[in-house]
Symmetry: C2
Subunit: 278 residues, 2 copies
């Protein structure tokens, strides 16, 4: 059998066909992206939100022209000409007035000439590096979706986007491995970088009282002595949209948590992707 | 009498002579800077801290070569050849093992060949724009030092810098003026941008229970109906140093809160100063 997950383009084609859903571990070495799509009049505020909150909302790219789902800038982010933002994620969510009203396989019927898409870094991007160092994330080994939680870290306001908080993803590790895990993920500044908190005290500081009950994804098992390690998560923009509530007129689209876009950016491109470069 | 405050260079010369202390309102149109000076081995971690926390720690420039106090990059930040980082702030603080141990007029005796300086944006930079819009900050009218508080917003960790929190500056405004104040300061992304919280509820959310007792600067008077408006503040790096405590070997230097460096950057340069550009 031909392994069709090796390149980003092949992974996108399989996601378009919904043959792939959870993208953790897919196309190693390529950076994966979260999605947020907004009516054009909110683009300036959302861009400002990303620049002010680059750890949960690091920009990997955005669509270049309102209504055009085929072209992302910078052009290096997506290099295949057949790209379509409306189909190439495995699964989408539709928001109206801050509420998720539908889960969909594509956005073909709901996309308008006024929509602009933002691609936001995903922590799946550094998981290959963790695995290569002998520290594979639990959810990859168990074939589950990474556990994600609402935290109490405030998202710094920008325009209509006020009152949001960070979503965080969690991977269990042994305390003696945390410094190594921090070092490995530190370089991935554009895909959330190093953890925002760790340990049971860290969970408490984030306001997460029960790690067995994630708000998105699936609960992860802990082996003896392991503690939770938390990274900022690109589902955060969906919380910003929830908090903006009916200040947003028109439909907003996002990806289904865990169901990401595989971009053509690689780990070697991380230096080009410093906050503010897009 | 010749007004010697009109250009940034003239203001720096007066600060060097300690003829100027509180720099609020000095050299309108020029961006002002906070200071943090570290031994070179902590530079990568601190730079990462700034990229991860660009709202409290926006970089305007840094010294180019360890031990050289005369040259800042980008070169547009400070254009006068006689510049000396050790003398051109009106007042300095010396930290050892996370504690402020001394306040000084210059750093000439304590600076070493291993020290690297970071210049961090200051909210004084947008006060001219507020004044021009008929919304002058109270502390400028009263000739006091802006009120600054420790908040509970966590500084996102980077390397040895863990466990810190934002410092915020506060200006009283009437509730009906807050949207205009947000709009005016939003463009100043590299000098803290728009407020992080506002109103009495905002103060509570930041964990500030008594606005009459600032942690730095001076208490500000409130006129009837006014509420506090809070911006992230460039004193935050000093809290990061406090939190790093004895993880830092060697002396650390900072400015005395309210006693800033006037740079040659102007409000017109803000577009060049997006997070990550330095």
């Amino acid at each position: 059998m031909v392994n069709t997950n090796n390149t980003a383009h092949e992974a996108r084609l399989r996601c378009r066909q919904n043959q792939l859903t959870n993208t953790a571990g897919v196309a190693p070495g390529y950076l994966q992206a979260n999605l947020l799509v907004l009516p054009s009049k909110y683009v300036a505020d959302f861009h400002d939100l990303c620049l002010r909150n680059p750890v949960p909302c690091p920009l990997l790219g955005m669509t270049a022209i309102p209504g055009d789902p085929n072209f992302v800038r910078p052009a290096e982010c997506i290099r295949s000409e057949d790209f379509d933002l409306r189909t190439d994620f495995p699964k989408y969510r539709v928001y109206s007035a801050g509420k998720c009203i539908e889960s969909r396989r594509d956005l073909l019927d709901v996309w308008t000439k006024d929509h602009v898409g933002f691609l936001i870094g995903c922590s799946f991007s550094f998981e290959d590096a963790l695995t290569a160092a002998g520290l594979p994330p639990r959810h990859q080994r168990s074939g589950t979706i990474v556990a994600m939680y609402r935290s109490n870290i405030p998202l710094l306001p920008a325009g209509i986007f006020t009152g949001g908080h960070f979503i965080v993803s969690m991977r269990p590790y042994r305390p003696e491995h945390i410094e190594r895990v921090r070092e490995i993920t530190r370089a991935y500044l554009s895909t959330h970088g190093e953890p925002v908190a760790w340990g049971w005290d860290g969970a408490k500081q984030l306001g997460i009282l029960d790690v067995t009950k994630p708000d998105f994804g699936e609960a992860q098992s802990f082996e003896e002595g392991e503690v939770p390690v938390f990274w900022a998560c690109g589902v955060t923009p969906q919380i910003a949209v929830e908090a903006a509530s009916d200040k947003i007129e028109g439909l907003v689209f996002a990806h289904e948590p865990g169901h990401m876009l595989v971009t053509d950016w690689t780990a070697e491109d991380l230096q080009k992707l410093k906050p503010g470069s897009i």
